[in-house]
Amino acid sequence: MSDSSDILLVGVGGAASKAVRKIVASLDFTVRSVLVDTDASTGRDGGDFVLFGGDRLSGAGSGGDVVQARLAAEDSIAHMDEHLAGVRLAAIVTCLGGGTGAGAALEIVKHLELRGVASVVFATLPFRFEGEERMRNAIGVRSLIEEHSSVTFLLPMDKLAGGDRRMDEAMSSALAVLSAGVSLFWRLVETPGYISMDTARMRKLLSGARRGRFAFASAEGPGRVDSVVAELQSTSLLSAGDSPVRSIFCGILAGDDLRLAEVAQTADALREAFGRVSSFNLATVNDEKNFSGKLEVVAMLLESDDARLDNDADQTSKRGKKQQSSLSAAPLGRGRFNNVEPTVLNGEDLDVPTYVRRNINLDF
């Protein structure tokens, strides 16, 4: 474990813990990570592990029961604290739909929020074939996780797996894609580059977001920028959102052959593809050893949630979080709801008049 890092990777539940092990193994530097599960067997392969609800569930897992998992997490949430010393940003990988993945992840993001730790949640939604109950679990907890996390990236398993795969291949394929994506994200935050994305900058970027879209693409050889951009433009992972994009983050990982023109071309193409936004953020990592001849691009589209920024600003003194609250103005039209907790759904502040959010011109 790298105690010097101020970012922590958390795997919640059995499947996500496997993905986190894969991420840790794929990186050539030490990653500060912890696995959390209600099933004791998840911790058998070593590494930092927190068992939730040992007394309640005897380490046998939640049996897919979200509520039992939440209760187990409530029982044991204090055990997380020993892994949070000095942590400012936590990336949580979880598979919604399962009991622990959904129930415990919610309690963890709530706990992180109280401690002033920014949280980025990579949450998978179950495959359609997994059935109605698991999808219901996921949908039920999704909005609560979004409410308490800094930003949540929802990644439907069907889209991660892609293609017409056999059922037994689909899960491992989807988790492999998820692991690869999070590994790239981790490299961007942990590896200094010409334009670096450190924890402080990432926290600032996430401030005011709630939900985002996440995808990555890679290519080699001549025309690699075109290939990467085309892949990002066509992936359904980036087109899934229904709220306006407020900022774009583009992370470029390449070897020493990365040219300035390629960076500019990638940035311009993403700006054009995803519309005018209030901010565009770029980070690059030059890593000849791992990316020689390759170009890997991570794209994060952060959706608008201005109301939450205001709300968080009110909480600053309690949580010890520093945010640019003085720069944020109340969204237009909140009127009688100015001083109450906003009702936010899919990143939209529903207290703002619908016609304002839909840009409808009224014929007076």
Partner: protein, 400 residues
């Protein structure tokens, strides 16, 4: 002695207290009801304790005064609490027991029902209602009555409706200040469904939408059981706020416009529709007229959005196509012009305004749909506390 019950609803728009009495023959009569504008409540949650307490005191005094005028000396000491707001949620829970013999007996059924009641919610949640849905036996699901069936593992699916304990405690604290003890908290939309749906509606599948001021709630009956419910923090107050913002007027004038002129659906031809008068606010902002098309557009967009949230949740539960009896609208928003037509368009099912079916005393009430939740709460009290006054139980919807 007649059984008398009281129910209190602390809404964003109004605070209502009603008293119900058991009549001979088993029916319930609402003998007295008072409603005053709420203060200190937004989005169905108390934000100013003193103001909320004052509202409760006023409504208790109003009821006691009405009773005194009718010749009854009555002091309201306790009341059931009708709860709504975004903090209400519903989850499915499955209880499991091992069958003792070769076939399922009454004891096994009692055990699994008891197991479902022993389940504990997280500490910050308080249970409002439980609905027993169906049994399953060794993987065979959808069983209505497992008695006599062979199998080893008996399960019972329940829908548990719960709310934020802190918000309910806030209501208790506010009521204590008015010397009123609050008994069981009950979910407004589920209470309303009990009051306005017939047995036939419940069997056919019906949706009750409670269009409140601070929040919107819904309850779904399918195959005779309460199968889904939820609430979210958008309601009629948002419509008023949208109008106030669009036409730069006060909330009071916006509320009047909403009630008197606005329509939830757009009309075909506005050329023939006269403009609507809007009173002046200050010498600078003088009286003027506004376009009805603009007014209806503001309201239509907001109401469509509210209904789209309901539709989206019902689609998530795969419920929409099971609602053969359609939608029944309750709450103050049920009287908005064009709302039934809009529900029909947005949800694809017929809609009507509801009225309590099984209570007397509301015959002269001009807006019975607005009383549906509180009438349902009194029905709950009547049904559950007359025979078993000492048991603080919940509806046993499946077995009743």
């Amino acid at each position: 002695m007649t059984n008398i019950y009281a129910a209190l609803e602390i809404g964003s728009t109004s605070t209502v207290l009603a008293v119900g009495e058991a009549e001979t023959g088993g029916r319930l009569k609402i003998s007295c009801k008072a409603k005053i504008p709420s203060t200190g409540v937004k989005k169905s949650q108390i934000i100013n304790m003193n103001a909320a307490t004052q509202s409760i005191k006023s409504v208790v005094m109003a009821v006691e005064k009405q009773q005194a005028e009718a010749g009854d000396s009555l002091t309201i000491g306790n009341a059931f609490l009708v709860v709504s707001g975004r903090h209400v949620n519903a989850d499915m829970y499955q209880a499991t027991v091992q069958v003792e013999g070769a076939k399922v007996g009454d004891d096994d059924i009692d055990d699994v029902v008891e197991a479902s009641r022993l389940f504990h919610l997280p500490k910050d949640r308080e249970l409002l209602d439980i609905s027993d849905l169906c049994f399953s036996l060794d993987g065979l699901s959808g069983i209505r009555n497992p008695k006599g069936m062979s199998g080893r593992i008996l399960k019972l699916d329940t829908l548990q409706i719960h709310a934020d304990r802190n918000r309910i405690d806030d209501a208790r604290t506010a009521a204590e200040g008015a010397h009123l003890e609050l008994r069981d908290p009950l979910f407004a939309a589920a209470c309303a469904a009990d009051a306005v749906l017939s047995e036939s509606d419940r069997r056919s599948g019906a949706l009750v939408i409670d269009l409140g001021g601070g929040s919107t709630g819904y309850a779904v009956y399918s195959d005779g059981m309460l199968t889904a419910a939820n609430a979210f923090g958008v309601g009629g107050d948002h419509v008023t706020n949208d109008i106030a913002y669009a036409f730069q007027t006060t909330q009071a004038h916006a509320e009047s416009l909403k009630l008197a002129s606005a329509s939830a659906v757009l009309q075909g031809d506005y050329d023939a529709v006269p403009r609507t008068n809007l009173p002046g606010i200050t010498p600078i902002v003088q009286a003027r007229t506004i376009s009805r098309r603009a007014l209806d557009t503001v309201v239509n967009l907001r109401m469509k959005e509210i209904l789209s949230i309901v539709r989206s949740e019902l689609e998530g539960y795969d419920m929409l196509h099971r609602l053969h009896a359609g939608a029944v609208l309750v709450g103050g928003g049920a009287y908005m012009r064009g709302i039934c037509e809009l529900v029909q368009r947005e949800l694809g099912i017929p809609a009507k305004i509801g009225a309590p079916l099984y209570v007397d005393g509301l015959e002269s009430d001009k807006s019975p749909a607005a009383c549906a939740a509180i009438a349902g709460a009194l029905m709950f009290a009547h049904r559950n506390y007359e025979r078993k006054p000492a048991i603080g139980g919940f509806f046993k919807r499946f077995f009743k």
